[in-house]
Symmetry: D3
Subunit: 67 residues, 6 copies
């Protein structure tokens, strides 16, 4: 199935910090780093670990431009 | 001033489509493309044009992970 | 691949209104209706049509509670 | 007062997990489950408890479509 | 009913621009102006007009800090 | 650099609650209070303290209207 979110970039998980409710995930995407906050439950269900190949996904309405 | 948003990636505007209220902006970020929807007013006030050096900015709570 | 977004509900597209930049999509989900605004580009690339079986996807940080 | 958010679905709270800053709330909506992350402060001020009748509220710009 | 969104500020509508799918609403809130983009359908159903007393509502996870 | 986010209101930090992953920040903006949830990492990197002059920043697509 395809998702309407226009930003789906491949990367590799660098670090995961599990909190009580949320988790902070850092993903290397090419020469950049992208940071994500998801639920701890999702991090556990996806079994996220450093080194995992993932995609970071962002809806285009959430992206701002700075110039 | 520094912004709390953890994702601020440098890129170059490729295309801009101005709608009546919103604008769709496509930005090349390294080897990837990032798409953004902002207000037409902001696109005009920033005077966004193809070739502009910009940053795409995303709050980490808006980033999902796919594995 | 699995997505971290915790809300992924099956439904059927009822109507699509294409604007210049955005598209308004109405999806029947069980006894309820869920409305979505995505880019026109995504609506076209997904070739969304009334009657399509889809999933509506929402990150849990975007869900409020009213009591 | 009426809210512009187009998605306001009735449900019943199933579980609440209070974290230090955030709270994870699971709500049964018809035959589906919807998950929400709100501040712990809001969860406490609303006095959310399993069995509470609530509405889950989502702005349509936050809803993606998967097909 | 009370909504979990922690930011609910009273204001007065200054201008509304209706697009094909979205609407851009400018609201005076005290000495500041707050801008909102909602669906055209919501703007019409709320019958928004300049001079209307409204509240602008923002989930706290959507608020960034610049310092 | 200018940011496309249309809402950038000046205020003063009142309180900060650091959680394990997230931080809850309360900012006085004129006669109102605006609450924000950002990552703990951002709160620490910005060295947010009560009394700091800051701006609260919100993308217009995240603002709802209640009437």
């Amino acid at each position: 199935m395809a998702l309407s979110a226009r930003n789906q970039l491949p990367g590799v998980v660098e670090t995961i910090k599990l909190g009580d409710v949320m988790a902070h995930v850092v993903v290397r995407v090419g020469e950049h780093v992208v940071e994500s906050v998801i639920t701890r439950t999702s991090a556990e269900e996806l079994d996220l670990k450093p080194g995992d190949s993932v995609r970071v996904v962002v809806k285009s309405t959430e992206v701002m431009i700075q110039k």
